[in-house]
Amino acid sequence: MNRRTLLTHGLAFGVGAAVLASLPLPALARTADGDRAFLSALLSSHITPRIGTLAATTAGLHTALDRFCAAPDAAGLTAARAAFAAAMDGWAGAQHLRPGPLLLETRTDRFAFWPERRNIVARQLGQILNARDPKLLEPGAIAKQSAAVQGMTALERLLHDDGVTAASFTGGEAGAFRCTLAVAVARNAAAIATEVRDGWAGLAPKLTAGEATPVGANPTEAVNNLYASVVTMTQIVVDQKLLIPLGASAAEAKPGLAEAVRAGRSLAMIAGNLQAIRAIMLGEAGGPGFAALAPDNAAGNAARADAAKAFDAALAAVKAIDRPLDRAIAETRPKVEVAFKAAKAAQTVVNFTLPPLIDVTLGFNELDGD
């Protein structure tokens, strides 16, 4: 049986240089050096700050829970929930950066187990809360558990489940265990976010130097993989986060399947994702977005304008929903439909408008699992 070999070993070169060389291609707008410079700028303006925010807000959540559990009271629970919301916002702002550290070691699933398998988070948490095994509270123990109980989705249950108040974290062994478990899960989530931050910090010099990394075998592949990740993230927002709870009709709506529904953060997550995708498409903090790779001509300018317009409209439509997503689906369904259509229009820009202008080809056969 062959043993695994290290990735860097075999990643020397991407596919098809010979084939590409034999193709009668027009001059490409993108070059390896250009892609390297783009990655370098994107790291400074977008990736490093957003991954940094994810790590900082998750560390803040750990601190807040630690403080809350020292003397649980209503004000402390409010602060802990605010810290949870901030960490979820950090996640929404970084979740689209999938290639590299987040994809490795099942970190995405371990950080946030959503969508979940048939109520498995509640089931597994219930077992843990009943068993009250003190070994589980020891450092590093949560990391060895099922992904379902390792991160934010489990914390949401602990902090926001029906009937949870400050009293749920006091009053004897059960309450104390719940609180200490929440601290342990938050510590684990913070550790995962720190690994992601450190992973990117380690990658950055290699990416900037044009070397092979888990993000891509070369600068061009890295840019393409990051764009693919935006395509995937946009699809998750449209299909998973909006369409599945919304359903094709009111009768088919499944509002309970919305993300972070117990914390009332479904729309905040969607808005955070859309803002992040807008930022990586159009740039932020003085840095470039993918649209900057489009040519400086009428077609490029039109695409940039289309992208800005589509994402602004989608964000505005999400913000126009004036109550939590699960309630809005039942009470003001047309507003949610407008938001879904606006997000779908933004997806069209991501999937169809920009790719041909930035030398990106979207494949057909590369979907997972078929």
């Binding site: 049986m1 062959n2 290290l6 990735l7 075999g10 990643l11 020397a12 991407g14 596919v15 098809g16 084939v19 590409l20 193709l23 291609l25 027009p26 490409l28 993108r30 999938r98 987040l102 994809l103 490795l104 995405t108 699933d109 371990r110 187990f113 959503w114 969508p115 398998r117 048939r118 498995i120 992904a147 888990p214 075998a217 993989n225 693919a228 990740s229 995937t232 699809q235 998750i236 299909d239 998973q240 369409l243 599945i244 399947l257 997806q347 999937n351 169809f352 041909p356 030398d359 990106v360 080809t361 979207l362 494949g363 057909f364 056969n365 590369e366 979907l367 997972d368 699992g369 078929d370």
Partner: protein
């Protein structure tokens, strides 16, 4: 979940192939490989079947009969995106399976290209996209997910009675995908990817950290488990999703890395009943080119071919001794089937080409403008 693509609602475009391959092609996803010959009228040679999407927006879906020279014997629109197409022995008929989570299958008349009555998946089940006939074409076995039980199932359908479902057997594995009939249909072999999905959450993978891939051999008459094999612990991240039967009774398999660690692993191998599975070797650096993903496996009985649409490559091995034979380059290439002089391969950019087992194109690949060939290519007869 961390799966790269969720796609519950038939959004088709995911991940990238090499940049620039279509540069200048405008909106038409025409062909890009080498110097394609134009689509020819008429056409000769053996018939292959494949699902497709049209290149326009929004995409249309269908199934086609195509030939190695790039001609189309027929095309037929379908209710949605399909996956495998399996010919029925002894009849000018095939069955088309919906892509997972599949809600339908449909018989296809190979003489006319006409579609028969669509068969809906039973309540509480979903098709996974593959199935197999027994030797006489009298029974169709279909890979299914039993949704609430979170268990793999093999539906039994009667082709002589409008493909009525007459029963089911356990797959004895999680997340069944491709299934084949061996020994004329006495034994069914199932590639169980090991990953649980649910119709409520589309294609999202719900148990990647605890996935349990296997190959199971099931006695068709009784449903009894004859043998179940898993890869060693070091390879428990590999979902075994595609298989091909070898002439000597062995089963070739291809896998997908569901839980990337940053390591490069072999993804293709062979299993012989009663033995441990064997993973194939490849020359230095080659496994990395498969990008952790095998989309289709085919065999002519002796040679194993495995495609990676993500990596844009097809690898060939001698199934008798696992010897590496060669690598073909085909961007977004996935459909693969034995052919005269090697293997026929198709891609999502509309190419149809024959490759020798050394990996070289036997002829310049042909263009089929307007068609994006889907994951699987099946020879008729």
């Amino acid at each position: 979940m961390n799966s790269m693509a969720i796609d519950p609602m038939a959004t088709d475009l995911i991940r990238l192939t090499r940049r620039g391959l279509l540069a200048g092609a405008g909106g038409g996803l025409a062909l890009t490989l080498l110097n394609p010959a134009p689509l020819r009228a008429g056409g000769q040679g053996p018939l292959y079947l494949s699902a497709y999407a049209t290149a326009g927006q929004p995409a249309g879906y269908g199934v086609a009969g195509l030939r190695p020279d790039g001609t189309l014997a027929f095309t037929r629109e379908l209710p949605g995106r399909a996956h495998a197409v399996v010919p029925r022995p002894g009849a000018a008929q095939a069955v088309v399976f919906a892509r997972r989570p599949g809600r339908w299958l449909a018989p296809l008349n190979l003489a006319t290209g006409a579609l028969g009555a669509v068969v809906a998946v039973p309540d509480g089940f979903r098709f996974t996209g593959h199935g197999a006939f027994d030797r006489d074409g009298r029974i169709l076995y279909v890979a299914e997910d039993d949704v609430e039980a979170e268990a793999g199932s093999i539906g039994i359908y009667d082709p002589r009675d409008g493909y009525r479902r007459t029963g089911a057997l356990p797959a004895h594995g999680l997340g069944p995908h491709e299934l084949l009939a061996l020994e004329g249909g006495r034994v069914l072999v199932v590639a169980n990817g090991g990953v649980i999905t649910h119709p409520d959450t589309g294609r999202a993978k719900l148990n990647v950290d605890e996935m349990d891939a296997s190959i199971t051999y099931v006695e068709a008459a009784t449903g009894a488990l004859l043998e179940k094999v898993r890869l060693p612990e070091d390879f428990s991240n590999l979902g075994i999703r595609h298989i091909a039967a070898m002439a000597d009774g062995a089963v070739a398999f291809g896998a997908q890395d569901e839980r990337p660690t940053g390591d490069v692993q072999p993804l293709v191998g062979l299993h012989r009943r009663g033995s441990q599975p064997l993973l194939f070797d490849a020359p230095e650096g080659v496994w990395a080119r498969f990008d952790g993903y095998i989309g289709s496996v085919a065999s002519d009985g002796r040679v194993v071919a495995a495609s990676s649409p993500r990596g844009g490559v097809v690898g060939f091995w001698d199934g008798r001794d696992g010897r590496w034979l060669g690598l073909a380059e085909l961007p977004d290439g996935c459909g693969i089937a034995p052919a005269e002089g090697g293997f026929e391969a198709t891609n999502g950019l509309g190419a149809v080409g024959t490759f020798t087992v050394a990996g070289t194109p036997a002829d310049p690949p042909h263009a089929t403008p307007g068609y994006r060939w889907d994951n699987h290519l099946t020879p008729v007869g």
